[in-house]
């Protein structure tokens, strides 16, 4: 059933049960995202898609908030733009992101977003955490310096591949992605080495071994294709 709502002052219609993000995209309105990826469920981890709802004092993530009849949504206000930029800066300050020598340079969603939000400097002190690089897997590597905790790898491995190798440990600033039961990736026997997590990763955190600067190009739409084709039994 179709519902009608207002987005940035324009009346749009959307399907019942649809998220604000999907409804906006259907209407041709772009809302920045980072943890959202077509083909896997949304968790609202990155807060990049925060929007304002009329009558509500708090901001809500567009990816996990369902539309409702008569809803008034603002996705592009000076305050939202400022918050998004702060969020990107916080992500940069939390780990050690060095684009110039990164495998994903030029093919990185975080880098694209930093450009989109106009980040010309980071107002917060860098934390420079001592992070590890796990290259114990024979085909892939994980550089925690570049991880933004979007959990795309976790959801992809769980929802599409069904192996659930990836997970998150600890809380808050101490959160980390882990493989298996916090074992070196190469020792996790549930990993099928399918490489979907490599494709899902928005930054250079998960990469193909041997890849050098700017060599990691990822075709993320393949993941959504796999999921949709399976659900719709397109190849049966």
């Amino acid at each position: 059933m179709s519902k009608t709502l207002t987005l940035n002052g324009q009346m749009i219609s959307a399907r019942e049960g649809e998220s604000i993000l999907d409804a906006a995209r259907d209407a041709g309105v772009s809302i920045p995202t980072l943890c959202h990826m077509n083909g896997v469920g949304d968790v609202g981890a990155c807060r990049m898609c925060l929007v304002e709802l009329a009558g509500s004092g708090k901001l809500v993530p567009a990816c996990t908030t369902k539309i409702s009849e008569g809803m008034e949504v603002n996705s592009d206000t000076p305050q939202l733009r400022e918050y998004r930029r702060m969020l990107v800066e916080l992500i940069f300050s939390e780990r050690n992101h060095v684009c110039a020598v990164c495998v994903a340079n030029g093919n990185c969603e975080l880098q694209d977003l930093a450009i989109h939000v106009g980040m010309d400097h980071v107002r917060y002190d860098y934390l420079y955490p001592a992070e590890n690089v796990d290259v114990s897997h024979p085909m892939f590597g994980m550089d925690h310096n570049r991880c933004i905790l979007c959990t795309r790898c976790v959801r992809t491995c769980d929802e599409i591949e069904g192996a659930h190798v990836w997970d998150i440990t600890a809380r808050g600033i101490k959160s980390h992605t882990i493989t298996g039961l916090a074992e070196p990736w190469g020792e996790v026997n549930t990993c099928t080495s399918c490489g979907k997590c490599v494709m899902a990763c928005p930054t250079g955190a998960i990469f193909k071994l041997g890849a050098t600067v700017a060599e990691m190009e990822k075709d993320r739409e393949k993941l959504a294709f796999l999921k949709n084709a399976r659900e719709r039994r397109e190849w049966v």
């Binding site: 110039a100 020598v101 590890n132 690089v133 290259v135 024979p138 071994l209 041997g210 050098t212 600067v213």
Partner: protein, 477 residues
């Protein structure tokens, strides 16, 4: 009362340094020191990173000669993968290194040092730079700038960008070269060779004028080290690492993996730059020089006609028994190497192997230790890595050309200071004299950013201290 002269910062070199000149009670030069005042830390922060990242990471050590680091690092990576890289990759790496030697030497000669020769060591500092050169010797300055651009263009055509191309990787290179690019390089070769030849002719006319400078700018016997072809030919990428004595006699060929048996590294508290020396002769007697002068003293021939003719004339005109000992002639050697590089580029462009699309050998971590060497414009560059079983760097040692010339540069500064600074100056040393001291350093074309593994350009700071350690004279720019 003894005094000290301080030159801080040293200008028209790559990086930050200062020179301190110690005077005795009579005002004569007692000692002189060349201090490198930068600290980088690459060897430490690369620990824990994958070896495959090293070429592009270590290339960031320098904006002038990133290609040297790229190649030495990729070669150390080849060693760790234990692969023989495809022939096309090897030749393409050579082509890029030649482009680098041409552009870096052109920078050193035309932009940084030619103002001293052509405008005069005593000319006003405000004009004694590449801009002054442009207004008085427009064609030469333009030719030099275009020559540098030519070398940079080769790097860009191969690696996608002039500075810091992420192109050479352990196992080979990432992309090849097409006919259009080859033709683009070929078209500009005749012009570039003509500029190199004009510069050589001009330099030779100045030999008489600067006879005094040549005789005291680092003119002393020393060992020389460089890569050399198995047939003794001039080499810049592969071959054997050879140490020759001050008479040009081979002392030893150094096995890459055992370089530490032959080359020691001493440390002094007043300098961030280490002091490599030839171990069998101890420190500091094992002083050796690397770079253009060393390469021309070590090789038997160059292997291309124009450069070989110049090499013969070089040895006859400024050498003693075929060995050239004056560091002033680094400039001369640099010009000959530009010509050699251009001729070799021409030969490579005709090589059908260059068009191969097989450019990268794939392999895992097969060794936990690797050494890569290449001839950077300023001399032999050594990258030595140790990795864990997964290829993460556990230890890194980089021996940089400028570091290897450190002992010789200090000796050069002292020699020049002793010659030009007299008690009669009463520590009021004329600017032209201080410029000569700087020029002695410039002859080596030191790259301090590299050798201390800083950002920015090289300013000069000279200080003169008396016997009590008081600064009595200071010049800064």
């Amino acid at each position: 009362m003894s005094k000290t002269i301080l030159i801080d910062p040293v200008s028209r070199i790559e990086g930050h340094a200062k020179i301190t000149i110690y005077l005795d009670e009579t005002g004569a030069v007692n000692d002189a020191r060349f201090h490198v005042t930068e600290f980088r830390g690459f060897e430490k922060f690369c620990e824990g990173r994958p070896v495959g990242e090293m070429p592009s990471l270590t290339a960031r050590i320098c904006g002038i000669c990133p290609v040297s680091h790229l190649l030495a690092s990729a070669k150390a990576g080849d060693d760790i993968l234990s692969v023989r890289i495809p022939i096309a990759a090897q030749k393409l790496r050579r082509l890029m290194n030649l482009g680098q030697i041409v552009q870096s030497h052109a920078l050193s000669f035309f932009h940084l040092s030619a103002p001293d020769f052509l405008l005069g060591f005593d000319s006003p500092p405000a004009q004694r730079n590449v801009f002054g050169l442009m207004s008085s010797q427009t064609d030469l300055a333009r030719g030099g700038i275009r020559l540098r651009q030519f070398g940079q263009t080769i790097i860009e055509l191969l690696g996608g960008r002039k500075i810091h191309p992420a192109w050479a990787v352990p196992g080979g290179v990432r992309s090849g070269i097409g006919d259009d690019e080859i033709n683009q390089i070929r078209e500009r070769l005749p012009e570039s060779i003509a500029v190199a030849q004009q510069a050589l002719q001009l330099y030779k006319t100045l030999l008489e004028t600067y006879h005094e400078e040549a005789s005291i700018f680092g003119n002393f016997p020393s060992l020389f080290m460089s890569l050399v072809g198995r047939d003794g030919a001039w080499e810049h990428y592969d071959g054997v690492l050879r140490m020759v004595d001050s008479a040009g006699k081979t002392l030893c060929d150094i096995e890459p993996h055992h370089y530490a048996d032959t080359l020691g590294e001493a440390v002094e508290a007043w300098n961030y730059l280490k002091y490599p020396y030839y171990k069998p002769m101890g420190y500091p007697d094992g002083m050796y020089r690397v770079g253009p002068l060393a390469r021309l003293n070590v090789c038997t021939h160059i292997g291309t006609p124009l450069a070989d003719a110049e090499l013969r004339e070089f040895r006859q005109r400024v050498g003693v028994d075929g060995v050239v000992s004056s560091s002033f002639q680094y400039h001369y050697a640099r010009l000959i190497e530009i010509l050699a590089g251009l001729e070799r580029i021409g030969l490579l462009l005709d090589d059908p192997d260059l068009r191969s699309t097989h450019l990268r050998a794939a392999a895992g971590i097969n060794q936990t230790e690797g050494v890569g060497m290449s001839e950077a414009p300023r001399g032999t560059l050594i990258h030595h890595y140790q990795v864990d079983q997964h290829g993460l760097i556990t230890h890194m040692n980089l021996i940089i050309a400028t570091g290897q010339n450190n002992l010789a540069m200090n000796r050069t500064v002292k020699q020049i200071a002793q010659h030009y600074i007299r008690p009669a100056h009463q520590a009021n040393v004329p600017e032209g004299m201080l410029n000569r001291i700087e020029a002695g350093i410039r002859a080596f074309d030191p790259c301090l950013s590299c050798s201390t593994h800083a950002l920015g350009q090289m300013p000069l700071h000279v200080s003169v201290l008396d016997a009590n350690g008081q600064v009595v004279h200071e010049k800064m720019r």
